[in-house]
Symmetry: C2
């Protein structure tokens, strides 16, 4: 084995290994997460195949060696069904892209999840995950939403999206759907963090909604594309919804709603927990009122309250339109040369971009990722195009 | 002049002087309140009549000597219209009783108002003011209440009243009326603190409500019976609503509602400030949400939340039925002898009680006041009767 791994941009072997682990492991497995701090995913996969044992150096209070053995045994049983690297490459061709820790599109705030951070994310859609999450709020709530909750969820999401805030939710019926739809209606970016694989797309009734989201926003999952959801998977998924954003707004939640689980994760991650009040006569608002009274969640009545809370004083992050997160002066010369090849209207393929910039394809990809994360480039049907190119040229 | 006064049980002259000041002075006049810490009301009235000047020893930051002079001049102008002691005695005969600081029925928590405490209170109704306020909550809100607010106000008040909590409000249309009606419907005690005199009874449309309140609860005012309300008088009155109770619940309030003024007084007096959330789409709940978000008001959704907040852990104060505040062992022998003359069913007049107990009429009144404040006696149509007499005899 080589040096213990860090989150370097992963090579093909490592990317395949992480994709493989998304088939084998349960998301949020702390024992596996601990292991991946010391060893690469490829090493872990190899060990599983060859019956090697790892010296477990994690905190036994969080994940015991026994838990790791159990997880390993479960994963080993799934090894025979593992897709080939070719199949995974085919999925990537179909638009299900793998995003690994340390890659430009990886949202660094997921590190707050510690050993429970996702091993890998499957992403589909035109937005850049890291950039989209830079200014984002999670808007979640009951599946059994009332008309009131649906109206309020839609309105808050639309108003946030109109202020260039990405709306993250769970793709479920009820409040989640209202949040996604509100953001879409305002022409904004929205992310559906699913508990199923992306081509499985649970719930099935949201097939069209998911298709629409992937046009301008993102579908994200810890599971490989075709996987069905499991009951515990919904709760495990909520930690990612909470971690991706600056804060979570609970629009409607009954006293035992799963949305309260997202709020709990947000609180544990030191994210803002916000709740929308409602009629005290509505059971679907009782969970929100409990959050406000007993958890100290902030009572928010609209997007302006949310913006005030998530936007630090004097920050320009809440401008009406998205702006690049860094100025062009801070780009290295190679990345700048890649930026100069991008146009604002139609996109260019990576090979063309590499050729025009005079760099190799890997370098072009690395630079495009950086530019996307910084808000200068975005994916489109034809490949990549510039955003804010005009502003950049004006300087 | 004699010794500077304290709040001893006032003699006839002093009671008349305080009644007279309720005609002459504006409630909450800090300059006058300061003066009444050093001098009796009779001395102040005499000074006004004889153009005497008082050495002003109050804090000039709160009330300047100039303010006092101005208040004095305004009061002097009203002297010619002052009713005679006979007229005031006649009102008392009609059931409008004067309650002066230091008297048994005076609620001591009004001292928290400092120099802005009422000079005197006019009270009408069968309950004992001091005792009724021992376990009380103010429930106030918009006059322009919605159907939602009216339902919630009625329900919270009824549930509080059913737990032997006195519901205090301002007698206005909207939420105030719903609170009084809820308490009445539950057979509980409610207090309407009016901004007009009690026989004037503003608003006139609540004439029947006020009559019903006085049957089992209390009407209270700082103004003499026939006085009409003034616009600033409503806000000045709110400080008494806030001071009388352990906490104030705002059921509905628009962003500039007068109910927020009561909340402000409650906060300044270190009383609990509670607000009922509502639909974020309702302007009548916007003030409540503002209180929760910006003032740290507690979000309460029903009487159980309120009871939990106002009832210290292990306190028996929230029992289903009222209980005496002190045990009979703590009564002095004379008061105990008066208690023994009371029956639980029909009442007895004070003269009969005095005769049976072998004390003079003044002593009987003093003892009855103490017994009422402690929860052993209450007024009724025939005079006074015992409450909890059975429990007392069982010991």
């Amino acid at each position: 084995m080589t040096t213990p791994n860090a989150d370097h941009a992963a090579g093909a072997d490592e990317r395949y290994a992480r994709a493989a682990l998304s088939f084998l492991a349960e998301p949020g497995d702390v024992a596996l997460g601990t292991l991946l701090r010391s060893w690469t995913a490829a090493e872990v996969l190899e060990a599983m195949r060859s019956d090697l044992e790892f010296p477990y150096d994690g905190d036994p209070a969080r994940a015991s060696p026994a838990a790791l053995t159990k997880a390993f045994d479960r994963m080993r049983a799934l090894l025979p069904g593992l897709p080939t690297p070719g199949r995974i490459a085919a999925w990537e061709q179909e638009g299900y892209r793998l995003v690994c820790p340390g890659e430009p599109e990886w949202p660094t705030q997921l590190e707050d999840l510690g050993d429970a951070r996702p091993v890998v994310l499957w992403v589909r859609g035109s937005a850049d995950l890291r950039f989209a999450c830079l200014r984002s709020v999670s808007v979640v709530g009951s599946r059994a939403a009332t008309a009131y909750g649906t109206v309020v969820g839609t309105e808050i999401a639309a108003d946030l999206a109109a202020k260039a805030v990405t709306v993250i939710s769970g793709g479920a019926y009820g409040i989640d759907a209202s949040a996604h739809r509100g953001a879409l209606a305002a022409g904004g970016c929205t992310i559906a963090m699913l508990a199923s694989g992306l081509s499985f797309g649970y719930p099935k009734g949201h097939c069209e909604l998911f298709a629409e989201i992937s046009q301008t926003g993102l579908l994200v999952s810890e599971h490989p594309p075709e996987q069905a959801p499991t009951r515990p998977g919904f709760l495990v998924r909520n930690r990612v919804i909470a971690a991706l954003s600056r804060g979570t707004v609970i629009v409607e939640a009954a006293l035992r709603s799963g949305a309260l689980n997202t709020a709990k994760h947000a609180r544990e991650l030191n994210r803002l927990v916000m709740a929308v009040p409602g009629p005290v006569t509505s059971a679907q608002s009782a969970g929100c009122h409990g959050l406000i009274r007993e958890w100290g969640a902030v009572c928010v009545t609209g997007a302006s309250d949310v913006l005030e809370l998530i936007s630090p004083l004097g920050s320009e992050g809440m401008a009406d339109q998205p702006r690049p997160a860094v100025t062009p002066d801070h780009l290295d010369p190679v990345t700048e040369s890649v930026l100069r090849t991008l146009t604002g209207r139609t996109g260019r393929g990576p090979a063309t971009i590499a050729m025009l910039a005079g760099v190799d394809l890997d370098t072009a990809f690395r630079c495009l990722g950086l530019l996307a994360a910084a808000g200068y480039a975005e994916r489109c049907d034809q490949g990549w195009r510039a955003r804010w190119n005009q502003a950049t040229r004006d300087r």
